[in-house]
């Protein structure tokens, strides 16, 4: 299992309705993207971190491990804004407002990533997918996504084991061996995926499979107080950002 999904399955908010967590997490993300980066993004990031580490009970170590991936992309993505092409300074020179734009981008992407992580760390994908049918996503697409989700983890385990075995047999010792091993790994994944699909099909056919995958979804009621608190938090963040922006400018 992937660390984020494992954390979501054992989350304190696991039994909460995914809709509540989507409104909170994605609402914070939209605030981070839409509000002025300064001071909006730091405020959104602080609020998201407070929710993640407080009521949601996400382990700081796990959160940092997951967050450093998008953070790395944010940093490398902000670097090009420091430079400009052409102009009086030569072919490539430092952009006059480069540090400001790069800083704003870094703040915005960091805050937005934390919002998505809040949703991902508290909501297993398996809780979300079956409910998408009610949201209007065609059932066959949801079924394919469900199968992808379930087979994907098994395939990732297989890939990790095959790679370990290849390394133990010096399959990664040189460049040529690495290419051979990688090709074998990808081909093995293909064969295993289709083999598993065929066996799943046989098993389901024996149980009267009619093309629809029915899964049990844990029942959860949408909590109005939770939604009200979320609305208040988002409205407060918007108001505080706009007030502070005027004050700071």
């Amino acid at each position: 299992m992937l660390p984020i999904d494992a954390a979501a399955h054992s989350s304190r908010w696991r039994r909460r309705h995914p809709c509540e967590k989507a409104v909170l997490g994605l609402g914070l993300t939209l605030c981070a993207v839409s509000l002025p980066a300064w001071p909006g993004a730091p405020l959104v990031a602080a609020a998201t971190l407070a929710v993640l580490l407080g009521p949601a009970g996400v382990a700081p170590r796990g959160l940092w491990r997951a967050f450093r991936i998008p953070l790395g992309f944010c940093v490398t993505g902000a670097v090009p804004l420091l430079f400009q092409v052409g102009g009086a300074g030569g072919f490539v020179s430092l952009a006059p407002d480069g540090p400001v734009h790069a800083g704003q981008l870094l703040l915005r992407t960091s805050a937005a990533s934390l919002g998505v992580l809040l949703f991902a760390f508290t909501t297993p994908v398996s809780d979300v997918l079956p409910r998408l049918v009610r949201a209007g996503v065609p059932a066959p697409v949801v079924d394919v996504a469900l199968v992808m989700y379930r087979i994907g983890f098994l395939l990732l385990d297989t890939v990790a084991r095959v790679r370990q075995a290849q390394a133990a047999r010096l399959g990664l010792a040189g460049r040529a061996a690495t290419w051979r091993s990688l090709a074998g790994l990808a081909a093995t994944s293909f064969v295993r995926a289709f083999d598993r699909a065929a066996r799943l099909q046989s098993g389901l056919a024996g149980r009267g499979y009619d093309g629809t995958l029915r899964v049990l979804v844990p029942r959860a009621e949408i909590s109005r107080p939770f939604l009200a608190a979320t609305g208040a938090l988002l409205a407060g963040l918007v108001a505080l950002t706009l007030v502070l922006e005027r004050f700071l400018s």
């Binding site: 400009q84 102009g87 006059p96 480069g98 998505v116 090709a183 995926a193």
Partner: protein, 253 residues
């Protein structure tokens, strides 16, 4: 290659989602038709999607000394065709955003446009064009994967340049800047992905002929099968598989 969460301004994120929507809807319709006609396809398509997800998680060595991962869009488009690949690619991007913190939800439309739409269609187009011209299978597979990978990065460069035009030289300067940065790593990576895809296809032809036939990549030439372009399928001369083991096969598409 994935545009990170929050990287694009809201208007750009929305515009790319709108641009991607017709292709995704077209793919969903194709998938719906397939599942209605063959209910058992759900599992096969799920397995295909899982394979795409895993393929994008493989690390391949880069010429610059670092590692990166293939987009998998070229191989996916050749195996499953672009409309289906659009849906599978979009779901894969959604899983990557939620399970790996890779990419994002507000940038899902932009990422889907580059990786699940332009990449597969461009790669598949080149593959089909070369096959129609009588180019050998493995050469066509290489260029299909190469173009799919490279076009993905070209579109990503355009997306970034539109979002962040250069203060001095505008869109073109920004395109040169982002394209230049990507070119250092992505041209070698596109070559790497092309080579890897050829190796994978060779192994698949050896080990999974049944699945490739079911997917329509290979046809039995001995029965005078027609390929997807409507031309008469030939025998072993058109397919590397047939050349390898002496069986009569033709490459369907």
């Amino acid at each position: 290659m994935h545009i990170a969460e929050g990287y694009l301004p809201p208007v750009h994120a929305a515009a790319w989602s709108v641009a991607a929507a017709p292709f995704v809807i077209h793919g969903v319709r194709a998938l719906n038709r397939e599942v209605k006609a063959h209910p058992e396809s759900t599992l096969l398509l799920g397995a295909s999607g899982a394979f795409t997800f895993v393929l994008s998680a493989l690390k391949i060595p880069s010429v610059t000394g670092s590692c990166s991962h293939p987009t998998g869009t070229g191989l996916g488009a050749i195996l499953f065709r672009p409309p289906i690949m659009t849906v599978l690619g979009t779901i894969t991007l959604l899983f990557q955003a939620l399970l790996l913190a890779h990419g994002g939800l507000t940038t899902l439309g932009a990422n889907a446009f580059s990786m699940a739409i332009v990449g597969p269609w461009a790669g598949y187009g080149v593959y089909r064009l070369l096959r129609r011209s009588g180019v050998p299978l493995m050469v066509s597979v290489f260029f299909g994967a190469f173009v799919a990978d490279l076009s993905t990065y070209c579109v990503t460069s355009v997306q970034l340049a539109l979002a962040f035009p250069d203060p001095s030289s505008g869109f073109l300067g920004a395109l040169a800047k982002f394209g230049g940065i990507f070119a250092v790593t992505q041209i070698p990576l596109a070559v790497s992905e092309g080579l890897l895809t050829v190796l994978v296809m060779r192994l698949l032809i050896q080990s999974s002929k049944g699945e490739l036939t079911r997917l329509g990549v290979l046809l039995s030439g001995g029965r005078g099968a027609k390929d997807a372009t409507g031309t008469e399928g030939t025998t072993a001369a058109t397919g590397a598989a047939g050349e390898q083991d002496g069986t009569k096969e033709a490459v369907a598409r």
